[in-house]
C-alpha cells in the first residue's frame, strides 16, 4: 500500500518549478550559478566566523553550548516568520488546491503533503544558518561522531516545530476569515493577522528570555557546564532540547534529549494532521470564489470611470491596482514598505530597558557631526527597502503566463517598462516617506535632514527599481501556478536584496569611516546614484527593451 501523503508530496515537489532557471539562456544560468557559488558560501562563512567570535568568550565561562541553542533558536524563529506566508499561500492560495479538493483525499493527507513540501523548501534556509554553526562548534569543541549524526537528523527535524506553529496559526485564522464575500480582502487581513501574531509572539518570547533575574543568571553562570542552555525559555522548546542533545551527544543525557526531540516532532506533526483533518476543509472550500454584486447599472451607470487617460498613467495605475488587489502581492510587495520601520522599531518599543537606547540613539543622531551618517543611513535603508519589496525585481515575473497580452498591446515596450518602473518607484518611495516620518517622530532627526532625504531619496530607489527590472528581464519566472512563486520564490528578488544590501554597505561605511559631513555625503551619494541611474536607464532603454521583445511567451 502506498502512502498517499508521501505520494502527493512528491508530486507537488516535482510540480514546483524550483529556482526558475528553466528556459533561461546558458549565460544566465552560468551567471546565476556563479552568484550562488559566491553568495551562499560567503554567507555561511560569515555565520561560521561569527560563531567562532561568540564561542571563545563563552568557552571561558563554560557556556559554549549556548551557541548551538541560539543557532537553532534563530533558525527556528526565521523559519517561523518566513514560513507563515509560505504556509498560508501553499495551504490556501495555491491554484493546485482546486485540483486537489475533488480528489478522494483526506484533508489531513493534503495538509500533510503540503506541509512536507514547505518543510523541504525550508531545509535550504535552515541549512544556510545551522550548518556553519554546527560544524564550527563541532570542530572547535572536537565533538565525537554522534554529534554529527544527531546534528544531521536534528537539522531534518528543525523546520517541523516552527512550521507546525505557523500552520496552526494559519489554519485557525483561515478557518474564521473564510467568509462569503470579499475573499481577497479577508485573505489580506488573515495574512496580516498571522504575520503580526507571529512577530508578536516571537518578541514576547524574546522579552521573556531577557527577564532572567540577575541573581539567577549569575548563579547559573557560576555553574558552568552549559547550564544556561536549559534556562532559556523559548517558544520552540525543541531548540533547547536539540541544543542539549548536541552538547551532551557523548552521554546518555544527550541521547535522552535527542529522543525527546524526535518524539516531540513526531507528536507535533501528528497533532497538526489531526487538526488539519478537523478544520482545513472549512477554511479552504470556496476560497477561490469571488463575490459580485450584479447590480444593474443602467444607461447612466456606464459613465463612471470611462474617461480617457494617458497610456503610461493608465498602465502604471493598472500595475498598482494589481499589486494592491492581489493578496500575495499586497502582503509581500506593498505592506512590506510600511512594515520595515515597524520591524526596525519593534525591538526598541517592546523591551523596557531599551527605551533608553532610543533616547541614546536620538542623542547620537543630534550630534552636530552625525548629519552625514544619518543621510547615508537613510540612503542605505532606502536601498534595502526598495530592493526587498521586490516590486521591480518581479515586475515581469508577475505577468506569468499572461505576458503575451503585453506583447500585442499597441504600447511600445519602452513605455511599458517605464510604467512598470513608475509603479515600483511610487511604492518604494512611500516606504522612504514612512521611514522619514518614523525618524523625525521617534529618533528626533532634524526636519531639514528629513526633507533632504525626501528630496534625494528617489535616487537610490530609482537605482534599485532599474536594477531589479533589468534582473527580472533577464531571468523572468513566468511559469508559475501560484502568485507566491512570482514574488517570494523568485530568485530575482533575492538578487535585488543582495544588491541593495551591498550598496547600502557601500553607502554607509565610507560615511562612517571618513566622518563625511552632510554636504559631502549629499554630494557624493547623489552624484554617484545619479550617474548610476542614468547609466542603467540607458541600458533599460536599449538592451532591456530588446530583451523584453525577445522573451518567449
Amino acid at each position: 500500500m502506498k502512502n498517499k501523503t508521501l505520494n502527493l508530496a512528491m508530486i507537488l515537489l516535482k510540480n514546483g518549478s524550483g529556482l526558475g532557471l528553466k528556459g533561461s539562456s546558458t549565460a544566465t544560468k552560468v551567471m546565476m550559478i556563479v552568484l550562488f557559488a559566491i553568495a551562499i558560501p560567503s554567507m555561511m562563512g560569515g555565520v561560521g566566523a561569527f560563531t567562532v567570535f561568540l564561542i571563545e568568550p563563552l568557552m571561558k565561562i563554560g557556556q559554549q553550548g549556548l551557541v548551538l541553542t541560539w543557532g537553532i533558536g534563530i533558525t527556528s524563529a526565521a523559519i517561523f516568520v518566513f514560513g507563515i506566508f509560505y504556509i498560508i499561500s501553499t495551504f490556501y492560495f495555491a491554484s493546485d488546491v482546486e485540483y486537489l479538493l475533488p480528489l478522494p483525499l483526506k484533508p489531513r493527507q493534503i495538509v500533510g503533503a503540503k506541509f512536507l513540501v514547505v518543510t523541504v523548501f525550508e531545509y535550504i534556509f535552515a541549512a544556510m544558518i545551522f550548518i556553519p554553526i554546527w560544524i564550527t562548534y563541532g570542530i572547535r569543541i572536537s565533538m565525537g561522531p554522534l554529534y554529527y549524526i544527531y546534528g544531521l537528523i536534528l537539522l531534518l527535524l528543525m523546520p517541523i516545530m516552527p512550521l507546525a506553529l505557523a500552520s496552526l496559526l494559519s489554519m485557525i485564522i483561515m478557518r474564521f476569515t473564510n467568509l462569503k464575500r470579499h475573499k481577497d480582502a479577508f485573505k489580506i487581513i488573515g495574512g496580516l493577522l498571522a504575520m503580526f501574531l507571529g512577530i508578536g509572539i516571537n518578541l514576547m518570547m524574546q522579552n521573556m528570555s531577557m527577564n532572567l533575574s540577575p541573581e539567577k543568571l549569575s548563579k547559573l553562570l557560576q555553574q558552568g557546564q552549559n547550564s544556561l542552555i536549559g534556562a532559556l525559555p523559548s517558544i520552540f522548546p525543541t531548540a533547547g532540547w536539540a541544543g542539549q542533545a548536541l552538547v551532551h551527544s557523548g552521554s546518555l543525557k544527550g541521547l535522552m534529549y535527542f529522543a525527546i526531540c524526535i518524539g516531540f516532532s513526531v507528536a507535533v506533526f501528528a497533532g497538526l494532521l489531526a487538526l488539519g483533518q478537523l478544520i482545513y476543509l472549512k477554511g479552504v472550500v470556496g476560497l477561490s470564489e469571488t463575490g459580485s454584486r450584479r447590480h444593474g447599472h443602467g444607461l447612466q451607470g456606464i459613465d463612471k470611470g470611462v474617461e480617457k487617460g494617458s497610456v503610461i498613467s493608465t498602465y502604471t495605475l493598472v500595475e498598482l491596482k494589481l499589486l494592491f488587489r492581489t493578496p500575495i502581492y499586497f502582503l509581500n510587495c506593498v505592506i512590506i514598505n510600511f512594515l520595515w520601520p515597524v520591524f526596525l522599531l519593534f525591538p526598541f518599543l517592546v523591551r523596557n530597558e531599551e527605551v533608553d537606547m532610543l533616547t541614546e540613539i536620538s542623542n547620537a543622531i543630534n550630534q552636530s557631526d552625525a548629519g552625514g551618517i544619518i543621510l547615508a543611513a537613510f540612503f542605505g535603508l532606502a536601498l534595502f527597502v526598495s530592493g526587498s519589496n521586490g516590486i521591480a525585481a518581479s515586475a515581469i515575473s508577475r505577468e506569468g503566463q499572461e505576458l503575451y497580452v503585453k506583447k500585442y498591446l499597441p504600447m511600445s515596450y519602452k513605455d511599458q517598462l517605464i510604467a512598470k518602473l513608475l509603479s515600483a518607484l511610487t511604492l518604494s518611495y512611500v516606504g522612504i516617506v514612512s521611514m522619514v516620518i518614523v525618524g523625525i517622530v521617534l529618533f528626533k532627526i532634524p526636519v531639514t535632514t528629513g526633507v533632504l532625504v525626501l528630496l534625494t531619496g528617489w535616487l537610490p530607489v530609482l537605482f534599485m527599481c532599474l536594477s531589479g527590472l533589468l534582473i527580472d528581464l533577464y531571468n523572468p519566472k513566468l511559469d508559475w501556478d501560484n502568485e507566491q512563486k512570482a514574488v517570494k520564490q523568485n530568485i530575482n528578488v533575492l538578487y535585488s536584496i543582495i544588491i541593495g544590501m551591498g550598496l547600502a554597505a557601500a553607502s554607509v561605511i565610507p560615511a562612517v569611516a571618513f566622518k563625511w559631513s552632510i554636504t559631502v555625503t549629499l554630494l557624493i551619494l547623489c552624484s554617484a546614484f545619479l550617474a548610476l541611474d542614468i547609466l542603467l536607464y540607458n541600458v533599460l532603454k536599449t538592451v532591456g527593451v530588446r530583451r523584453f521583445g525577445n522573451i518567449d511567451c
Binding site: 481577497d184 459580485s292 454584486r293 444607461l299 456606464i302 463612471k304 470611470g305 503575451y404 500585442y408 499597441p410
Partner: protein
Amino acid sequence: MIELLNVNKTFNGNVKAVDSLNLVIPNGEIFGFLGPNGAGKTTTIKIITGILNADSGSVKVNGIDIKEEPLEVKRSIGFVPDTPNMFLRLKGIEYLNFMADMYDVSTADRKERLQYLAERFGMTDVLYDRIQSYSHGMRQKIVIMGVLIHNPSVWIMDEPMTGLDPKSSFILKEMMREHADKGNTVFFSTHVLDVAEKVCDRVAIIDKGRILFNGTIEEMKEHFNRNESLEKMFLELTDSEK
C-alpha cells in the same frame, strides 16, 4: 488585409511550428483558420499579432510590415486570445477602459461603444464586478468587448467560440458578419468545423505548419470533387499527411 509571405517559425531549434507559410486574408471577408491540435494555428496568430517574432518571412497588416512599424500594426488589430483569464483582479469596466486607453479611443467614442457592446452581450449588470467573479463565457465576452472598443480594421480571434453559450456565440457570429461587411478583416481559428462551414467566406487548413488548402468552402468541395461534409474532407486532408 493580412499578408503572410514565406513565414517560418521553429521552436527549440528543431520543431517547425510554421513552415514557409503563405496566406492572404482579404478585407471584407470572414476567414476561418482550421487545423488539428498543434497544427500551428496559434503560432501563426501569435506571429501576426506581434507576440512572437517569425524566424524569416514577412507579415503585413494593411500593407504595413510588422517588423518595421510594430505599433502601427498592433493598433489596427483587435486580438481575442484563446484563454480569457487576464486582468482577473480588475473590474470589467476597468479592463475595458484600460483597453480603450491603450488603443487611444476618445471618451465619447468609448462611452458609446461600451454602451452598445454591453447591451448586445448582456454584460451591463456585471461591468462593475471583478472579472474574477465572471464565468468562462463572461470572461470571453469581456475580452471580445475590450477588442471591439477600438473598432479594429483587423479582428483576430483564437478559438473564439469556446465557452460561449448558444446565444452569445450566435451574437458573436452576427457581429463577425457585420464587421466584415463594413470592409474589415475577420480572421479566426477554430476546430469546430460546423462554425467554419456556416460563417466563413473562405477557409485555410493548416497541418504541421503548412497550408494544405486555401479557398472557399465551395472550392474545397470542388477540390474533392464530391459533395461530402466538411468534416470528412478535413479528416481526409489532415490524415493523408501522416
